[in-house]
Symmetry: D2
Subunit: 341 residues, 4 copies
């Protein structure tokens, strides 16, 4: 069975494991106060071309989302998200468990627009009963989105403008950020993200790490006491070195970007093959998740050797499925899959 069902089917990049082996007997302080965390943070700041950000490391995405959102909002405030957003759909109500409502906007291929946000916020403040409704205060985006699509720099700038005009914070969930940055037409850099958002995070779990997400905070007021809230949410790893070491390896040079590129190349092989065979795509994703529409019987036969998600019905006895490539996808597996199509 070859797995294309997600981008965390394998362990970690070999260079990461090598680094863990090499440093294993070093005695280090805990809770992220070791030198490797410092070093990793400084590498990330360099890649961001921005020394004024704070960088923290946590283990997983749901943890990061609940920590950031509960750190940012007052009790009556809520977060705006695409209705397809991870916090809206797949975190067992983790955001609500911190007391905050997720206000869902209808997504278009996984994205929401500056206009939608502006309309929602205007509507809120125009409503004479607005004190009876959660107050929108934070916008949550994913880059890339749950459907593999990307915000352009212009789109992010427009959203940022709406946020500044309306006193909203803006955060970006970058659980798959590497794959977004490696996509051919992507025009959003890490530096841009430090300018256009109040905080974002760089996903490691899905991009070659054993686990770990690197949070980058630009908004000064939001930097305050962030570690307290990490600890309270159970998100301050005792052996924080393992987070520092992994991100050190990924960002010391270009490993994070190189392995992301690989995943995109593998996805492009698939896209070409689909095009050639006249297989339509449900979503126009330029990243590592692709959504071909296949007939039911073809899906059934492929499932004998390959794992992937059936995403949604596409009519006429066909379904959109999701194929994930990743840093660890083997070209030979892709070729075999194409041959078996």
């Amino acid at each position: 069975m070859i797995r294309f069902d997600n981008d965390y089917t394998e362990g970690a990049h070999p260079l990461i494991l090598e680094e863990l082996m090499k440093t294993n007997t070093e005695q280090l302080p805990g809770y992220g106060e070791d030198d490797y965390c410092q070093l990793a943070a400084s590498y990330i700041k360099q890649h961001c071309q921005n020394e004024d950000v704070d960088v923290h490391f946590m283990v997983g995405g749901t943890q990061v989302n609940t920590t950031i959102i509960s750190a940012v909002l007052r009790p009556h405030q809520a977060v705006l998200s695409a209705d397809s957003g991870h916090i809206a759909v797949h975190e067992t109500g983790a955001i609500e468990s911190t007391g905050h409502k997720v206000l869902e906007l209808t997504n278009t291929e996984g994205k929401i627009s500056a206009e939608q946000i502006q309309a929602y916020v205007e509507n809120h403040w125009d409503d004479p009963t607005h004190e009876h409704i959660p107050q929108p205060k934070l916008v949550y985006l994913s880059q890339p989105t749950e459907l593999g699509t990307l915000y352009t720099k212009a789109e992010l700038q427009a959203i940022r403008t709406v946020c500044l005009d309306n006193n909203l914070y803006l955060m970006v969930d970058g659980a798959r950020l590497g794959y977004g940055m490696a996509a051919e037409n992507n025009d959003v850099t890490l530096h841009d993200l430090t300018q256009l958002t109040d905080m974002f995070y760089i996903g490691g779990t899905k991009v070659g790490a054993m686990f770990g997400e690197a949070i980058v905070i630009s908004h000064d007021a939001l930097k305050e006491d962030f570690r307290y809230i990490m600890k309270q949410r159970g998100g301050m790893l005792a052996k924080g070195r393992f987070l520092g070491l992994q991100f050190k390896v990924l960002f010391e040079d270009h490993l994070y970007f190189d392995i992301s590129d690989h995943a995109i190349q593998m996805a492009e092989l698939l896209l070409e093959a689909f095009k050639e065979k006249g297989i339509r795509l449900q979503y126009d994703s330029p990243t590592n998740q692709i959504f071909p529409i296949l007939p039911d019987d073809k899906i059934k036969s492929l499932h004998e050797n390959y794992s992937f998600y059936v995403w949604e019905d596409a009519g006429d006895g066909q379904k959109a499925v999701r194929i994930c490539t990743s840093w660890s996808t083997k070209e030979e597996d892709i070729k075999q899959f194409i041959a078996d199509l």
Copy 2:
């Protein structure tokens, strides 16, 4: 600098890293649904001599405590803990962040007694205004305690009886459980814990793992939907394999117990040396944390080469300090330290 300040100063046991290397390219399902998690759970059940428990793996202790406590209690219910308990002292109010008060009982060398619990509960129900006071419903113990001491089997049985008599749940935080079980006079087995508690956990982070705690649930009603709450608390690791693999290595044979024994042997070397030199101990700990009382100038000179915590003032220009040994403590470091005393 040789570190005795805690038991998580080094990486992971070499056999664990070896296993991670060996299995790294295997493609596995996520979220703890892989075979290694299954296998690790089955090994732990065998060591517990109890097939009727549920076993789950999470990354860290604060996470486990908040997940268990919020899974068990209704909103008006509270958890009884020693005032020295980790949840009372060192989790940034994580339990309160889930809505529950920690009711603190005065500790005696880190422990609380059946009598204290009985008295508290009686007092609650006798109070005519008890509906205005959080209802005690869960007892939280640590084995060993924050001061390295141990509950005897008889003490646990007495506490269990009080709990059953008063409809209280009982949980045991075993972040350092291995070191407790390796202590010379310990008479509490894993099997006992499955009989005497509703749930407990077996700490990995401080006993040779990179990270990870294994939760063992005996109470049937509390097994229900536990994974939902793990996910909601951000505690369901995407690459759950890394938890499964580590606990597989630790519990496949006796590694967990063997490396715990080593830490105790190292502690005993220290205890002997203290005895010989007439150095008194602040707490009578038979486990891997020991609390010698040293003069201030001696502490100062030792701190040049060794890190350890100054725990509390002991009068007369002396202080109790805490020395931690662990699975990774080198005998030569202990000997050097004794020589430098």
Copy 3:
């Protein structure tokens, strides 16, 4: 200015104020433990023809909803509601503030159906990732709904069956219950509600009381410790007598039902007039909220002397508005309004 904008524009029914005057100097215990609360509860049980329910009194609806819902659900569980439901729309995220997500089902004239609930629940459990999604556990209905419509007994029975089949609790928000019971075709009695729901409440605030809602709990397990949670939510009135006294007056004989009838008669006068004048209705409400569709200029001129809500756009330069009658509506005001139409 004559107010038709809601059903709480005036004070309290004169008989209630009279009773307050009469009993004012009596010295009584606090927190709902006085004889008037007992008496009011016993009258309500009689009207319910059910002695096995628990009755509690709280001040307002949002308070009741948060208290009930947080009393009933475990952390990962969620409440199903019409997307027009009060908890979904107008409580500033109060339910989310207790940690629980409101799962919204599309309403049809304010109602949801047994089929919708069944489909949602089936879908949840069929989803292989259901542990990553809040678990539906409680169904919240309003009788009458926010749009003035009513569930028939048959509809409630169908919903109850779905709930029992799927281990869901069922609650009914009866903030305007009196007006529902007074509606011509209503076939749901208080007794039915004790049989068909796990708990419901009888609204006082909108039906002649100064404030207050009477909660009726039939499900035995949910009765336990309810007063603790009332207190924790700030909902246990110190001078509980004022709740007891009001509900004593309302339920000693038939006052609650008589004054509800009056509101319905006033609404029917309006409905007749609208019919006569060919004014269409946006929703087919048989209760005290009615939704005529009026041209913009007519609304403007009426607003000079009457207050009422513009509910939503109805196209063609027309809008649906909401007119509320109540226990205190004067027939002469209705006639004047009809004349001014």
Copy 4:
């Protein structure tokens, strides 16, 4: 049975009921947006000699405390309180239910000192693991305290200075504020409270109202969005007029102060009698709660005709009891009680 067990045994001051009768048929907007709430707020501002405060009305004390505290604190922050404080002892963990720990300082006759607060805060920031401990951010005092004692202006100024030095907010629970202000040696005015605290509240429930507390906010940043949080906590009364009307009556002239004076005069009659009879007092309270020490058999015989709380054991077969006077205490009842002593 004559009740001295608390200060909310009777209904409301007759002038309040009279006002309710007089205004009952007026049609008014809901949720505190009526003219009476405005008027009451303006009277309170006049009594405060401070136009720059915000005034809000809520129904009860637990509600106010949870609303203020959750409005003020970020998730990792905690409130400092005397261990005898109402939020620490008698609110069923309501503060914890909003996610915040109550940090208890040992009380001296119900009070805490500037020195205690300073020491706690210093200790927090000096602790190298302070990120693992809830951060003290708000000081909660009661004036008068649960034991009837009062802070002097000098004591409040000292506490205020510590708060400003350490970036702490300061709130005062004035559930019995009237009785404090009427005490003979009190030197703290409402104006002082607007200068020395960030917010405080003026209790109505225990001082002649049916219910209701008036919140006065001086700190600008804390004024923002307060009504949202009131609504979310279920504390925005639909018929807010009843809050406005009551506080209008109490503060239009001097009623609030006059009826408080009466309670103090009644308490002084008792104090004199105790002195004459050589009965010692457990606490030196100058307000409406007094704590004589009585022999067990005397308590027993008095309990036949009078209700009051047995507060705590005082040794030698004696107990301290609590006698509450109030706005409604009858002089003849006090005299009878003294005769029966």
